[in-house]
């Protein structure tokens, strides 16, 4: 059973078909990249998967279960995490608080429990402490120690991207959707990112679906690549197949 299966989804905006009868599936443990020209419908695809949009046609299923009509938070609770192209951090919170929000689904403290947090042993305090440990782990992995108590709106662009990745990791998802994670990173930082994404897959066993325009990176780490154009599948396959595909070169890569 594939981890994620998208079949025949269509999403239109006014007259524009952002996704047009698109189908593909992602296997567990894969790093699967989605590429395509600007405006091809890649982000729209992600938005359909995590239910920000509902496609007009077609179905999306996750581990065999249909998720097309769930709410966004419902999708998240099944173990699908994502990052955003334009950075959607909680801007007036600190890095730490942003990351703790990644733990939201794993925590249970309700209003009453949290109101009655009076001593170390109280339920809310215990839970905070426990989940802080997980968060610190992610902080260590992503080298975010220096930014722990900074407000995220004051962080440089690249660090914000890392915090967003960290927040998604804190959810301990099974499927991670990354929308242009390397945009705005320099060479060195991108290298780091490549390691991290590999680690994420190898050590945590998370399946990764990634949208990215940096071909070097895409080719480097993808198991398979999907190319879409005008919302339709243009090509799908192994990296070397795809980058040599003539239509992909014409529409997306350009002549070398």
């Amino acid at each position: 059973m594939p981890m994620l299966k998208v079949s025949h989804i269509t999403k239109t905006f006014g007259g524009l078909k952002a996704l047009d009868d698109l189908s593909f599936s992602v296997e567990k443990g894969e790093i699967y990249s989605v590429i395509g020209p600007n405006g091809a419908g890649k982000s729209t695809l992600f938005n359909c998967i995590n239910s920000i949009y509902t496609p007009e046609n077609g179905t999306i299923s996750y581990k065999g279960e249909e998720i097309t009509n769930l709410s966004s938070n419902g999708v998240a609770s099944l173990g699908i995490a994502r990052t955003f192209q334009n950075i959607e951090l909680f801007s007036r919170l600190t890095t730490m608080e942003n990351l703790m929000l990644g733990r939201h689904l794993h925590m249970k403290t309700g209003l009453l429990a949290s109101a009655s947090m009076w001593w170390r042993g109280s339920k809310a305090a215990q839970e905070e402490i426990k989940h802080r440990e997980k968060v610190e782990e992610i902080i260590d992995i992503l080298d975010l120690q220096a930014y722990r108590d900074k407000f995220v709106s004051q962080l440089p662009y690249g660090i914000q991207k890392m915090v967003e990745l960290g927040r998604a990791l804190c959810m301990e998802p099974d499927l991670l959707l990354l929308d242009e994670p390397a945009a705005g990173l320099n060479n060195e930082e991108r290298e780091d990112l490549i390691f991290w994404i590999r680690d994420i897959r190898d050590e945590f066993g998370i399946t990764v679906v990634m949208i990215e325009h940096n071909m070097q990176m895409v080719v480097d780490i993808s198991d398979r690549i999907l190319v879409i154009n005008f919302g339709k599948k243009l090509a799908e396959g192994l990296p070397e197949e795809v980058i040599n595909h003539q239509e992909v070169i014409n529409a997306y890569l350009g002549q070398p």
Partner: protein
């Protein structure tokens, strides 16, 4: 890295000896004040405590969840009327009546939270304004609620504890305010509070983290209304008389102003805002009696304005103070406070 930090420190109510010292000093002061100061000031402190409670709740909604309410006086009204009617018609003792008032207000908060799910900005402002208006209109029309005439609220007095009426109200109000303040602080530090703020900053990302946005939006309305309802009950026994006119739109706006000039999204801001606004609203009229300034104002009035209009100086000053605080300190009184704190910490550098 073995130098593991104690994560409890971050959520601990009072971290460090100094914090504990000041907090207990504050509690002791609050507890002993009624024996030191005159009755009128005890009354003012009680009034401040009541307004602190409203501000705490409203700040949760406006500052932390990012929703506006121009109808908070409506929740205060619900709390006040529930408390009063339970006490008058059903002989319920004050404390349970007050809690019932809070709960019923919370229920209405939940109801108002539903349309609020779809609305934002001025649209939400109008919806909440309409709510506040509807509550007072209905109360004013229905004889059971005392109509426009209003209700006299029974006095509360804990005689067995040897307290006078003023002292009784003072202690209930103060204890409630401190408790609710700590509650607010506790859930802002933990999961529900973070969810509120996530909804404020980006509802889309919040949902992607698994935060149920609708639930937290309505919850925040309900909790905020609960605070207002409790404050309503306290206010009712404090002034001893309620009528629909008390809970006007202007009052809602004053609450909002309290929160903003105190500092959005902070507990201390709510407290400072409520204390300062209450104080100003009671004391500003006395500028006319300050020697020197009083004569100056009179002379000015005679020359350019009217002498009989001079009492309006209260509004002029209130307006200016609101403007100045908000303009020059976007974080409100809380901002001023934290600036002073950093100044002392870094002094003399």
């Amino acid at each position: 890295m073995d130098m593991k930090r104690d994560y409890y420190e971050d959520v601990q109510l009072l971290h460090g000896k100094t914090a504990r010292f000041w907090f207990f000093l504050l509690l002791i002061t609050l507890a002993s004040l009624p024996f030191i100061i005159k009755g009128y000031y005890v009354y003012i402190l009680s009034l401040m405590a009541v307004n602190v409670i409203v501000a705490l709740g409203l700040n949760l909604l406006v500052g932390n969840t990012g929703q506006i309410s121009l109808g908070h006086a409506g929740f205060v009204a619900i709390g006040a009327y529930t408390t009063a009617i339970l006490m008058i018609s059903f002989a319920v003792p004050f404390i349970p009546a007050m809690i019932a008032g809070g709960l019923i207000a919370a229920f209405f908060g939940f109801l108002l939270g539903l349309p609020a799910l779809r609305l934002e900005g001025p649209y939400l402002a109008i919806a909440t304004l309409a709510f506040g208006l509807a509550i007072t209109t209905v109360i004013g029309r229905v004889g059971f609620f005392g109509g426009h005439m209003g209700l006299s609220v029974p006095a509360v007095r804990f005689e067995s504890l040897g307290l006078t009426r003023d002292e009784s109200v003072y202690y209930v109000a103060m204890i409630t305010a401190v408790l609710l303040g700590i509650f607010a602080r506790n859930f802002l530090k933990t999961r529900p509070g973070r969810a509120f703020q996530a909804v404020r900053d980006s509802d889309i990302a919040a949902a992607a983290m698994g935060v149920n946005v609708s639930y937290y939006k309505t919850l925040s309305f309900a909790v905020s209304a609960f605070y207002a309802g409790i404050a309503g009950g306290l206010w009712a026994i404090l002034i001893g008389f309620i009528n629909p006119g008390l809970f006007s739109f202007i009052l809602s706006i004053l609450y909002l102003a309290t929160v903003v000039i105190g500092g959005l999204g902070t507990i201390l801001g709510s407290v400072l805002g409520a204390v300062v606004v209450t104080f100003l609203s009671l004391q500003l009229e006395n500028v006319q009696t300050i020697p020197g300034i009083g004569q100056l104002l009179e002379a000015f009035s005679k020359q350019f304005m009217t002498l009989s209009g001079l009492p309006n100086i209260v509004w002029v000053l209130t307006g200016l103070i609101l403007i100045l605080i908000v303009l020059f300190e976007p974080l409100g009184l809380y901002g001023i406070w934290s600036r002073i704190k950093t100044y002392w910490k870094t002094w003399p550098f």
